[in-house]
């Protein structure tokens, strides 16, 4: 099967295989990315994040339903943690989305973090490119349950939904959290629960404080409420997503964000490649000395970079 050609034609099996290759760091994955890259940059990437138990998967389930009602094809990347001890993972997010199993306009993929911190897996960005190239108009990225600053999804997504729930208590935690500075749309899910008013007042205050900061741009993050298990509040969330997308497109921010992601990915790849080259040419005894604690890591890193400075192209040939 010609994976790149078939996924560009929207074939799910091909897209699924490409994502597997990228997740496994199989070299065939990069070849596919090279061929499909020109077809990316169209999808609206939507992040969904929040603490464990906030109801993210159920909310995503209702978002899929509403987006489908509006006639859009939807892809979902649902990230769950890998065990740091065994590398294994239990990926159960699609359980909550099983009513869409037979809808051909919906592609749901579970991913394990595979050692990556930050709430996503290393291949999540690449997987979103595959789904984008397959023609999904919306790619929803659901992060692992996050605590304070695991907010890589903000850099990946055009629009990030922050999902909170009443009664998680400890409001100081939320104050510390980078979460409050990050999202574009705030949702209090399980709004029928005790403690709703308190949570609402608290989030309103935080959003008010945030609005006072000059660096936050012209978008005013709305605070919405939902009871995802009953589908309540979903239409308003999708309206807000549409409004945010329109806002990004009008300001040129939509394209600028795609460029920024592209640049960040380039730098990450270049970083890894450069490091590998550098280490390959490092004096063999340097690493041994560091391991034996005969030399401190700071001096060792300096020597390595000095050595790199001496490696002119001519000298390296």
């Amino acid at each position: 099967m010609d994976v790149a050609a078939e996924l560009l034609a929207g074939k799910v099996a091909a897209g699924a295989r490409a994502i597997r290759w990228l997740d496994d760091r199989d070299p065939r994955g990069r070849e596919v990315l090279r061929r499909i890259f020109g077809a990316t940059g169209r999808a609206h990437i939507v992040g969904v994040t929040g603490p464990p138990g906030a109801g993210k998967s159920t909310l995503v389930d209702t978002l899929i339903a509403e987006e489908r009602r509006r006639g859009r094809k939807v892809a979902v990347l649902a990230v769950d943690p890998s065990s740091p001890f065994t590398g294994g993972a239990l990926l159960g997010d699609r359980l909550r989305m099983s009513r869409h199993a037979l809808d051909e306009g919906v592609f749901i993929r579970s991913m394990a973090t595979r050692g990556q911190s930050g709430g996503l897996s290393r291949a999540t960005y690449d997987a979103s490119l595959v789904m984008d190239a397959m023609g999904y108009e919306l790619v929803i990225v659901e992060t692992v349950g996050v605590g304070q600053d695991e907010i890589d999804v903000v850099r990946l997504a055009h629009s990030t939904l922050i999902v909170a729930v009443p009664g998680l208590g400890d409001e100081v935690q939320a104050m510390k959290a980078g979460l409050m500075e990050a999202g574009e749309i705030f949702i209090i899910n399980k709004a029928d629960r005790e403690g709703f008013e308190q949570t609402r007042r608290h989030l309103e205050l935080l959003l008010h404080l945030r609005a006072a900061q000059p660096a936050t741009g012209t978008w005013q993050p709305p605070l919405l409420t939902a009871v995802a298990t009953r589908g309540e509040g979903t239409a308003a969330i999708v309206d807000a997503l549409d409004a945010h997308r329109a806002h990004l497109q009008k300001s040129g921010e939509f394209a600028r964000q795609s460029s920024a992601r592209c640049e960040a990915q380039f730098l990450a790849l270049a970083h890894a490649a450069a490091l590998e080259q550098l280490l390959a040419r490092a004096p063999a005894e340097l690493l041994a000395q560091v391991r034996a604690r005969r030399i401190d890591p700071y001096t060792a890193a300096e020597r390595l970079s000095d050595a790199a400075g001496n490696m002119s192209p001519a000298a390296g040939a």
Partner: protein, 144 residues
């Protein structure tokens, strides 16, 4: 490539049929996770069509189906056929649960490699999967 490929086994666990007994499949899911596998849990009361879709979307290596209510002689062969028809016939198919010994040949005929009946030790399932996985990886890395 700056980093070596890393390929954990991915397995979809699903329940066919109308019962809601999840203890067995939950125990198996946790044991496989402990063994370093990525386990996707797709839900209860699944139809063969839904399980086939999930297996393809997740690009798993193995599909494990638990069936505790009758209907397995119809549902399991149907799942195997759907996967083959949709170009996903390369996945290892396993079944477990309440399956009378006299039905085992029919399921094997349909493409199920192994039937784990009630009371199977999870270590037996893990050992079976690890053997199969090692064989598959060796076969794929050896030029034909």
């Amino acid at each position: 490539m700056p980093e070596a490929p890393a390929r954990p086994l991915r397995i979809l666990l699903a329940k066919l049929g109308m019962d809601t007994h999840t203890v067995g499949i939950t125990v198996v899911a946790h044991a496989l996770r402990q063994a370093g596998m990525e386990v996707i849990f797709s839900g209860l009361k699944q139809t063969p069509e839904a399980v086939a879709s999930a297996a393809i979307q997740e690009d798993v290596d193995v599909v494990g189906v638990s069936s505790l209510s009758a209907g397995h002689t119809r549902n399991l062969p149907r799942l195997a056929r759907l996967l083959r028809e949709r170009g996903a016939g390369d996945k290892l198919l396993l079944a477990g649960g309440v399956i009378p010994p006299e039905d085992v040949p029919l399921l094997q005929e349909a493409g199920f490699a192994r039937i784990f009946t009630m009371g199977t030790d999870t270590r037996e399932i893990i050992a079976y999967l690890e053997r199969w996985w090692a064989g598959k990886l060796t076969a794929e890395s050896t030029p034909a």
